[in-house]
Symmetry: C2
């Protein structure tokens, strides 16, 4: 290939993703708020840059992997940000999970400079990032998606071009809606069994083979039985994603009556001090009721 890649945001997800790009043979320039992860990646062969604009100047493809919408906005469009340094014909790929409507706005700002932008949020967690086995949900133009393929191939396994700009973030919002609602349903069912004097492990087993079967019942159901709530995916992050779901649903007029209750449960779990626990701790929140 020969595309030079910039990677901004070396958190729990970004660190192994940047490593996988190096392993795939890409030249990678990195930037992050904390110096530790930068040093780690530099030791693995990456070049460091002090500001986002500098990263953009040095590469062909800029990837961002940041916590929330304001972080992405600041790194892309803020002072010293990507937009200041990016050259015409470059490609920006935001792999954070952020607001779909804001995403479209960012993409338009880059389009005015003839820079393509893809939204490409992921699921699969830290393990998926380490194993280069992420699911990647992509929004943006076909041409940009095709150009990004070698990059995505180095990071994930299930790569779907969902639609135009913002479609990747919409798909991620849908994903987070279904995941949290299914966790809540499994929690309600297993606690119902337990309070009715029936072994919840046997109930989980009986349900796994039929229509109630899901990845969540399998993995998070077992976590509930074991009260194994170390993350995994933190309640606090899922609460953030729930806000994105609610904002998007409100903006487009989509009813989400059951997810509104799930969001309230996530908030109660945060309020109760479980924000740093895995999202399967929705079970613990229910147990307190």
């Amino acid at each position: 290939m020969g595309e030079r890649i910039g990677f901004i945001g070396l958190g729990i997800m970004g660190r192994p993703m940047a490593r996988n790009l190096l392993a795939a043979g890409f030249q990678v320039t990195v930037h992050s708020r904390s110096p530790g992860p930068v040093e780690e990646l530099v030791a693995a062969g990456a070049a460091p840059a002090d500001r986002a604009a500098e990263v953009a100047r040095a590469v062909d493809v800029v990837i961002t992997m940041l916590p929330d919408t304001p972080d992405v906005e600041s790194v892309l469009l803020g002072s010293g940000g990507v937009l200041e340094g990016v050259a015409e014909g470059s490609l920006v790929i935001d792999m954070s999970s952020i607001d779909p409507i804001a995403t479209r706005r960012f993409a338009e700002a880059f389009a005015e400079r003839s820079v393509a932008m893809l939204d490409a949020p992921v699921s699969g967690g830290e393990k998926g990032a380490i194993d280069a086995a992420l699911s990647i949900m992509v929004g943006g133009e076909e041409e940009a998606f095709a150009r990004a393929q070698p990059v995505f191939q180095a990071l994930g396994s299930n790569i779907v071009h969902v639609g135009p700009s913002g479609a990747g973030q919409i798909a991620k919002a849908c994903n987070q809606l279904v995941v949290a609602a299914t966790i809540e349903a499994v929690a309600e069912a297993l606690l119902l069994a337990e309070r009715a004097g029936v072994d919840p492990a046997s109930v989980r087993q009986a349900l796994l083979g039929g229509f109630a079967g899901s990845k969540i019942l399998e993995v998070h159901g077992q976590r509930m039985l074991d009260r194994a709530f170390s993350p995994g995916f933190r309640i606090l992050l899922h609460r953030k994603d729930a806000r994105i779901v609610q904002d998007t649903a409100a903006a487009v007029g989509a009813p989400i009556p059951s997810f509104d209750v799930v969001t309230a449960q996530l908030q109660r779990a945060v309020d109760a001090g479980d924000g740093e626990s895995d999202h399967s701790a929705l079970f613990a929140e229910l147990e307190r009721e």
Copy 2:
């Protein structure tokens, strides 16, 4: 083997189940409210009986497969019912989906006559019944469960002894909770995608591989995309099962905040005239909002 079996209730599920018992070589005596299904089974080799008590007199194992708790109560304990005709040492297996607390009461009534009773509700629908591939969730004593094994083997594939009397019905209630809640979550997600201008089929595809993946997203998600709402499993029956979940949860003090909303959605669908549609028509209910 050599047990003579009575089968009471020849509806959509009972008919193919009784046929599978005949096919497995059992002697089967049948009884049902409507004569048509009885004639059909008699033509296939079953003996007819006019009353439930008569069935009980003629056999070693009595199976009931009826719509709701009052039907089972009437057939088991009512005038001319199973309890009137049943001999000491017989086995009663109720495979209907009914109230777990009522089930325990019925089992006690039979225990007083030295008759064992199992609750053994199923999932898998008409197709599972025809293919002898039902999931069977069993509550009751180990000895009775062991005795019933040849019968269950002729009817289903995933057979789990969940616990003591009532445990099968509790597991079924948990199953119906998770199934309806997951259908509602998938409906909310796919409608959110559609209203946000993103192809819901692509979103379903993107979600299938990850933690949002489930049998429901696969099967019922596709039904929603196709607006294919002919049952399947009718909303009206799921509304009935939702009542069982709510009654049980209230009786044992288990919180079901998200399922309460799902139950309200089922009721709205019934009120809107969708009672005879498949439960994936929760999507249609949402679309009206």
